[in-house]
Amino acid sequence: MSQHRVIVVGGGLAGLSASVRIAEAGLPVDLFSLVPVKRSHSVCAQGGINACNDVARQQGYSEYEHFDETVYGGDFLADQHPVLEMAMWAPKIIDLLDRMGVPFNRTAEGRRDLRLFGGSLFKRTHFAGATTGQQLLYALDEQTRRFESEGKVTKYEFWEFLGPIVEDGRCVGIVAQDMRTMQIRSFRADAVVMATGGNGLVFGKSTNSVICTGAALARCFRAGAWYGNPEMIQVHPTAIPGADKLRLMSESARGEGGRVWVPRKKGDTRDPKSIPEAERYYFLEERYPKYGNIVPRDIATREIFDICVNEGMGVDGKNQVYLDLTHKDPDYLTRKLEGILDIYEKFVGDDPRFTPMRIFPAVHYSMGGLWTQFVKGSYNPAEPRKKHASGTPAPIDWKVGQGMLHGAPTNMMTNIEGLYAFGEVNFAYHGANRLGANALLSCLFDGLFCGLSVANYVRDGKPGKTPASGMAAQAFDAAAAKEADRMNRLLGTVGKGGDASVNPYAIGKELGDEMTAACTVVRSGPRLAQCLSKVTELRDRYSRAVLSDDASWTNQSFSYSRAVGDMLIAAEAMVKAADLRKESRGAHYRTDFPTRDDSQFMKSTVAKHDPATGAVSVELQEIDHALILPEARTYGKKS
């Protein structure tokens, strides 16, 4: 039995694939999750997972083109070597998922089918109906259960991560709380993998699950971990507006032929089916003849926003446009998209096979996340190459280790030694905008590729000599005690009166409204300044928050109230970074700086938190752009 242990926080695709990979390498894993891992937010991913395959390759596509598309799609903000490695690994990951039994849609011959997705002219997206994330998560959940039944993975479900324990600059464990018994305790670990996903709740309503507060990231941030590109928030162009959340309508709806339009005439209240073709404005197709409805998300979002907010052409004068599938065969739609069409029908009441859907953009994904490092691989051209011409032969072949050195202990390690970030909480790969169907890939890639890095670090790095299990108890006890104090201080406010201004739910809602208004599709210096002062005001009000439940058992409202404090700090980093980036790039669009400025800003923003003063500062940091030369990201827009 090894004296070493690894903690994985988060049971989504990244966390589970990391757990499986690390357990397979012989290290016992303690897996922490807010929810039973099978209910993690990865389950919501719909469209698919990108990877070159033999069919696409023979049509002229390549792993290299996938890499090129991802860098271009991310508007040249991502470090390029890790993206290259991810694209190279993608086909292997699909093979592995296939072996795990993922029911990928099949061709007539029984091979894996492909669909078209945003940002590519090739079909290169593998899918399982319209619930690909669910199917992938389940496959990993099953493998994890297998390891669990063998005693190699221990699950701590309904446990909330409260913070890393950092001793001498090295992460040696975590503090966590059982959300049922409310017990707070420390856990020792030789390495900690954060795989805690996104932070949609900072924006109030989003496409995210209710657990996606981003509090775990913020807690690492407060403990000294850097937060990379916090301002890069993806707003998905197509979601169903709702009272409690904005439900995603997958990009696959457009990949399978869905068309976005509004009536040409403002205020046209006719039934959409009765509006003739000539009187419909297919604005994405007209503005982007090459990519049409499958332009990347940030572009589609801004165009829809433009049509509704600036042009006032939204359907029924509201912030909504049609996403139309009614020209497709209903049976075909059922076969390819049943999952998402059912969601629409369930929550709106109309059947999208026969009625155009009404959709509007919604906060969806955080490209930003914990800042991480990597060790470059073997591909290092003397000069960066020009952007790859689609469909032409790739300059390099499919091979492992060209982008990143496989197994290097620092791959995707944060600035805190022994603390890793995998999946959405990792800022790598997606730059300023994530391409559809690349999220599942990056989650799995981190877990499967960098899992070995974790194992190597534990065996050969500092833990090899001084395992966390042998360290003095004092630091661990102190960390747990500090969190218990924080809890008791918050619970002590119950019954202290106070008006709505100090109600944590009200503070959370105001934060969401303000962040959505100021820091999503369209941003500007003055508005961001206003937003920052609002966040500061909310932080001040939060310091006087009064809670409504002091139960010492399963106190959910306490848990949420505590998270609001962390969300406020993350929000501050986002706003400050958005302010610092005086250009427009990918999802970050500034009305006062509408163009991209590579000379100054082809750099990561890195937010740092000073634990002593609580101050958040943001600075720019060089990125790795040694492989592809940046060029204007137009997607062939007609001017």
């Binding site: 209910r39 993690s40 389950v43 093979d95 099949r106 099953e142 209710v210 109600n503 409504s548 399963t554």
Partner: protein, 282 residues
Amino acid sequence: MSTATKLDPAAAQRAANRKSAKAGRTVIFRVKRCEGPGKPSRWEEFKVPVPPGANVISCLQHIAANPVTTQGARTTPVVWDSGCLEEVCGACTMVINGRVRQSCSALIDDYAPQEGDVMVLEPMSKFPVVRDLWVDRSRLFHNLQRVKAWVPIDGTYDLGSGPIESPASQGTRYKLSECMSCGCCLEACPQFNLEEDKAAWDTSFIGAHAISQARLFNEHATGAILKDERLDALMGQGGINDCGNAQNCVKVCPKHIPLTESIAAMGRAVTIHGIKKFFRGE
């Protein structure tokens, strides 16, 4: 697939309610509350204003932010489990007006279209209550271990692709694989009942979800390597033979998984497996 060809009476009623729903109304929520395991339950009522498109979750969110009962008494926020809010994670399952379902997809317009209509929320009864509407469903996941619901791969190494599979087989497996472990089939099953003693889990009824998952993996070329072990588990006490064929499972499954077909298919597999074992002298 609900092309609205054949609606069951309850669904038809919901559709009619939705059409007649009054705007700007207030609905009463009767919530069964419980402080924790072993504590007594009590009922509390909340008046909740219902905006268009509201569902049980958005109303519970309203109650969480304003925990005041109809009588004007301050109380604690109601505790419930939720996740994706789009009916794919299974977390927010509870008993609404006597029937088990996900609360996120329970639209208030469907159930309480008039001013003062009442919505009754209760926790699932087949799992131990953690607090209020939140229950502990670990037994459900434990039962997936009983049937070894996984494909026994040789690790995450690069070993090429999986088996070729016909679109028809993929279609069957995909449907089964949509099971989100919500527990509706168990809540509605008369044979699956509350069992707090973990030691008894392995001999209590395993549930439709696990039987269907056993079928899912037995249908996969590599998954079938563990076929006999799964069938052995299903043959034992608390296995498939404990099914009473009430068939409520398939009626309440939010994903329309053909659970009763899975039960019959595994019944056949177990029949053959049992006969083979008999003649092999095992």
